[in-house]
Homo-oligomer: 220 residues x 2
Amino acid sequence: MRIALLGGTGDIGEGLALRLARDTTHEVVVGSRTAEKAASAVEEYADRLGDDLTAELSSAENDDAAVDADVVAVCVPPYHVSDTVESVADQLDDAVLVSPAVGISRDDEGFHYNRPPHGSVAEVAAEAAPDAVQVVGAFQNLAAGALADLEHDLGFDVIVTGDDADAKATVTALVEEIDGLRALDGGALANSAEVEAMTPLLINLAVENDGLHDLGVSFH
Amino acid sequence: MRIALLGGTGDIGEGLALRLARDTTHEVVVGSRTAEKAASAVEEYADRLGDDLTAELSSAENDDAAVDADVVAVCVPPYHVSDTVESVADQLDDAVLVSPAVGISRDDEGFHYNRPPHGSVAEVAAEAAPDAVQVVGAFQNLAAGALADLEHDLGFDVIVTGDDADAKATVTALVEEIDGLRALDGGALANSAEVEAMTPLLINLAVENDGLHDLGVSFH
């Protein structure tokens, strides 16, 4: 399977690239706004992985990264999601689009969910994508720091939302290929807001509680 | 400590009454709109607890239940929170007001967080309470079914939000007296919306995933 990480040099992109490169044998393409930036990130990731690199890791401009991809994860800040999806729209074909981004605001009292008018970032991505492209929300609640620290045993749940069973099955399988992640079905894409809202909550918990940092969540 | 559970005959009230009655030695007053309903609930709770009853369990009308209470938990549906708090306002004195309620809507796609104009139900309670009364958000993410099933080992986290350190400390200590609950500091009361929003997410997960029901959450 070919997996494109648009914005694969950013926080969550870095973590996903490293974990997918270590725990799977897929073709993982790190995309960025410039080919140079993507290439330099991949060089660094490969260095850090050393002999643990099992995937086929490559780099490209975002636009090229999406070509022929089975899964395209939009690992850019929430305010760039719409533009980024539109910029690769012609390349998406049958790809499943994955939305891990969350809008977060901060004030004196803490971090808060900045809910987009479309309901969630995942729905913003769906609005920007061609009608035939299925969008799946996933990975929003993973701390980038935990993900990028390959010594960190995750043991976290990832909630998968979406309106197409096949697209969700693809993403669910991918989530569970990463060591220490369990995928849970969150239902329809319209249920993504509550998933995204948990991310500022996780940050508040990390700020307020000694000994909890880069935390994640388990349901039982 | 005297703990009043307003609406202590409802779902979350029942569960809190049973757990507090079994796991603590406090004075637990089950409140309801009528004294008869409260008395009949307490009789049933005492029956179910049998020899495991360690608290001093009693019943009263909501209004009387709040008199001299150290902690008043507003275990009523979200649309009754404001009226209920106003109806006991003169009795609150130095009590800490605890808000476990969550506004949830449902449509064909799932359960969704119904965010009140004040930001959260906890902030609705604060708006309705006298200025001197401290409001703390807690217990929102506990499944009533798990709480009321005394055979169910919880192992869940409870997020405590509020603007007064002493009030939060009181509620934190109370949470941790219940077997299987860990209290985490969620920061300011303004951070309550993200906590409340997790409850419809938990319901969606219970609906969509085999083997997950009456589920709760752990952070690590």
